[in-house]
């Protein structure tokens, strides 16, 4: 019989625990939900976590105005409803919204460009939190600055609420391309590159040595079909966020299950063909090329 361990020696909120949580989400689909009923549907469909928010990005886009953190009472109801992790969105730079979400007990905080930024110069100092953070990025500089601030997971920004996967692909290709460039550089070239992309040099070297971001890298922003999810896995994302794509679809149950199955079978075209059949219409969406520059969310929080 083993000895019991001293409770005094335990540690919480370390980088290992925060990044470890993100690793447990790999290969999974995280779904946006606005109420307990949607959260239940997402869990039954096989989601690894739900993102609790007041309105899905497509509705935020339509509605306009200031988009803020969800009501903590609504987040609590969702936490009560499901056994999988619950994430919540805070405005960029809004330390208090993040603290409130942490106090409510969310398992990960998304410091998100989908909400209206609270600070036009600084992001939240995420190192101060016990809860892990995920942040969006369009390129390697943004990704490494967020990791330097304490983010435990990076997701592509894509263009949220559009149902157009184009920008998620663009951001993931950009990040992977920059990492490939980095791998061929000497130490001093990497130092210079770190200054050029305004990223912490230490993280630039770590990324070059690993040949990937030092934290889990999900896809987000415009994923609307099983094939979209498979495409982002093909581009070496570790997993998928689906915002408006599930509950904006004609049949959210069928779409949710199909996107989970497609994420697992991303490299099996025959399985993907079966999975993609009869899932109903995807969200209508807006093509990125038609979107006026001032309506794009991805430029928020660089």
């Amino acid at each position: 019989m083993a000895e019991s361990t001293d409770l005094e020696e335990l540690r919480r909120g370390t980088d290992l625990i925060k990044r470890g949580f993100a690793r447990m989400q790999k290969g999974g689909v995280i779904m946006d939900v606005v109420d307990p009923e949607q959260a239940r549907i997402a869990e039954d469909a096989g989601a690894v976590a739900v993102m609790a928010l007041e309105a899905v990005p497509a509705d935020i886009r339509k509605r306009g105005g200031v988009a803020r953190m969800a009501d903590p009472a609504d987040v609590e109801e969702i936490i009560e409803e499901v056994s999988i992790p619950v994430m919540g969105k805070a405005r960029i730079g809004h330390t208090k919204e993040a603290q409130i979400l942490e106090a409510v007990g969310v398992d990960m905080i998304d410091e998100s460009e989908v909400l209206t930024p609270a600070d036009d110069a600084y992001h939240i100092d995420k190192r101060d939190f016990t809860a892990p953070f995920v942040c969006g990025a369009r390129n390697l500089g943004e990704a490494l600055r967020r990791i330097g601030e304490g983010a435990a997971m990076i997701r592509t920004k894509g263009e949220a609420g559009t149902g157009d996967v184009n920008q998620a692909v663009h951001h993931q290709r950009t990040i992977k391309g920059e990492i490939r460039k980095l791998e061929g550089m000497t130490h001093e070239e990497r130092e210079a590159y770190a200054r050029e992309i305004e990223a912490p040099a230490e993280l630039v070297h770590e990324t070059a040595e690993m040949g990937r971001l030092p934290v889990v890298n999900f896809a987000a922003g415009g994923i609307a079909t099983p094939a979209d999810a498979a495409l982002m896995m093909h581009h070496e994302c570790d997993g998928i966020f689906v915002g408006s794509g599930i509950f904006g679809a004609e049949d959210p149950v069928a779409m949710g299950e199909a996107i989970v199955n497609a994420t697992n079978n991303w490299d099996d075209p025959e399985a993907l063909a079966e999975i993609s059949k009869n899932v109903g219409k995807g969200m209508k969406g807006d093509a990125n090329v038609d979107l006026p520059e001032e309506e794009k969310l991805q430029g928020r929080g660089v």
Binding site: M1, A2, E3, S4, T5, L7, E9, L10, R11, R12, G13, T14, L16, I17, G20, F21, R23, M24, Q25, K26, G27, G28, E43, D44, G46, A47, V48, A49, I79, S83, I84, P85, E102, G105, D107, M108, T130, A131, P132, V260, N261, N264, N265, D268, A271
Partner: protein
């Protein structure tokens, strides 16, 4: 002799287990080929199997949909080693006490999901494990605990609750030995003499 190790890869921290198995194999002078298991038909070719951490509801649904679940049970029935960590422990148990998880019943324990709380309660602590010299750096992430131990042997406890067990060819932990370079749990599960051969007959 070359060994084939399967890592159930429908969801979870798959590459971490693959790396830990390669390191452990190397330390024991074994030539190990690691295969990711996303569909049925691969497990029967595997000598060793890992069921990783992740979300037990997701893993449970996908291994049943993909025809992997029965193959894991057959693997264990044949006396071949299985290491199940965190969500893997829940899925492999005889009773997860949650209808959202369809269990495999290859370890004779009942478990409580998220027994130590939510992510803010997740922790790391040095743990004394039977069969290992010196404490093991254990990382518990929204971890389950073991409630009732039937035929299984308890290898470690935390706060008075079993968190690592052995049941025949299966070793299961509530924590994540795959997250750190210390590969002693993988060696214990896969390459220690007691874990090889027909462990069920012990």
């Amino acid at each position: 002799m070359s060994l084939v190790a399967g890592v159930v890869a429908v969801q979870g921290d798959v590459s971490e287990h693959a790396d830990a198995i390669r390191r452990a194999g190397e330390a024991h002078g074994e030539d190990v080929t690691v295969r990711e298991v996303r569909e049925g038909g691969i497990v029967p070719d595997c000598d060793l199997l890992a069921l990783p951490g992740g979300e037990s509801t997701t893993i449970s649904r996908l291994i049943h949909d993909e025809g992997i679940a029965d193959e894991i049970v057959a693997h264990v029935d044949a006396g071949k080693p299985l290491l199940a960590t965190c969500a893997g422990l829940i899925v492999a148990s005889s009773d997860p006490r949650d209808e959202r998880v369809d269990e495999l019943g290859v370890i004779d324990v009942t478990v409580e999901r998220n027994a130590f709380g939510r992510q803010r309660d997740s922790f790391e602590a040095p743990l004394s494990v039977d069969g290992l010299e010196g404490p093991f750096p254990a990382v518990f992430i929204r971890a389950p605990a073991i409630d009732e131990v039937g035929e299984a042997e308890v290898l470690a406890e935390f706060d008075g609750r079993p968190v690592a067990v052995r049941d025949g060819p299966v070793v299961a932990t509530a924590f994540h030995p795959e997250l750190l370079p210390d590969d002693r749990i993988h060696r214990l599960a896969f390459f220690a003499e007691s874990a090889g051969g027909d462990a069920r007959s012990r």
